[in-house]
Symmetry: C2
Subunit: 275 residues, 2 copies
Amino acid sequence: MPMKSDIAKRIVVIILGVPGIILLLWKGGIWFAALITLAMLLALREFYLISAKKGASPLLWVGWVVTLLVAWMYYGGVPSGNSLIFYNIFIVGFILTIELFRNKPNPTRNISITIFGIVYISLFLGSLIALRNWDDMTGFHLTWGVFISVWICDTTAYLAGKKWGKKKMMERVSPNKTVVGCVAGMFGAAITYVIMYTSGFLGNLFDWGDIIVFAVISGIFGQMGDFVQSLIKRDMEVKDSGKFLLGHGGVFDRFDSLFFAAPLTYIYLQLFVPY
Amino acid sequence: MPMKSDIAKRIVVIILGVPGIILLLWKGGIWFAALITLAMLLALREFYLISAKKGASPLLWVGWVVTLLVAWMYYGGVPSGNSLIFYNIFIVGFILTIELFRNKPNPTRNISITIFGIVYISLFLGSLIALRNWDDMTGFHLTWGVFISVWICDTTAYLAGKKWGKKKMMERVSPNKTVVGCVAGMFGAAITYVIMYTSGFLGNLFDWGDIIVFAVISGIFGQMGDFVQSLIKRDMEVKDSGKFLLGHGGVFDRFDSLFFAAPLTYIYLQLFVPY
């Protein structure tokens, strides 16, 4: 049970945070990119800090520099495949060289966790920057779509699971999630997209096939992202990844459903939607 | 000290292996690509097996499939930057999903080691395929250049270190390597490239500036690759990574100097040599 002061803090975060996010999402461009970059940097720090609980010492400053490069790439445009391979080799070679002179225990794990954090957090979350900056119509509204659908999905899953949920979905990983909750979450995401589509909020670029795909991405893959986050936190024996969002846990926690939903929505938009 | 039967085995490996490698290097194309792909698959397996000694359970079959894709990419041509990002997200997302249902201890470490093995071994070593297939003149002779220069570097480092070496280079990581040995290795690599260049073996595409860069790559970064391998093996508390090359250790061991030297030579050729 959260204590009274926790609830007060939660409300403060919501009152300041939600309009702030809406404003930056609306402005787009460098503003929204800055917001997401900040989230990436904080989430990476939280992940590295919790992984330290099990003996790893990842290279935070290298992770941060590479995160800025990844954010820049999603903002400014992806370079050629050859360039990406070269950057990859330089960055990994640099991490290996630093670790060689670092004299910390578990060097292989430090290197591996450093790289995994970058690939998972920065590369996955950063796709939000590219999604929003797709354009001021589809990019803007579809980013809204992802945010709202995963939020509705989470909320319906939580409420339905609490009221009717009995059978656990995957007790080993996430003991509070029930089958009923997960199914309700899927419906919540689907209904959200149906309403956004039929009301014209998403524009006229999409057909029903696209809407079904978006609903599946938020409703199923969004929840899968949740489970993966729970797996990692359970592995590290922590409940929350951090305290940045007073009472709401950390940034890594709060963005959990977006980790899978955001890049998949972006990839689908890029590959399959004609424009 | 190696035993007599070990020496016999070593000789067998040399008699069969060296002409075999020369033949496949000369044929190039799919033949050399197949040799390097085999080396990548074996080295990845060795790395995953030794990392299991410290409690990780990496996903070998996923690593192998991705290694085949990486080899194919170096052979057939690198796709666009956007495609690479998508593949990256799919592969990492796939690894995360598999680990979610796997119920093994230390999931974060399993995921991280799986990814690190792919990025380090497959992406680094695979560059040999692209280097050799650059063309039948420069690509062929420069691949020879890398192979021979790191081999001469290793050998002169070993002999000079044994005869005159006293002060250790980096005892914590590699207790047998001496400062004298490392410096001798650098000269060995440099002299090798000078001879190959002045004899005309490398063709007329390069100038002395290029030769200095290649010598630095093999003589300094080649040895750095050695140290990184020693760091990993020391971390895992093993002496050799495997026994595949009877008496010569594993593939991961034997290719150690090539891990840094090969991709750097390839990147330099691609970026700075006009053709």
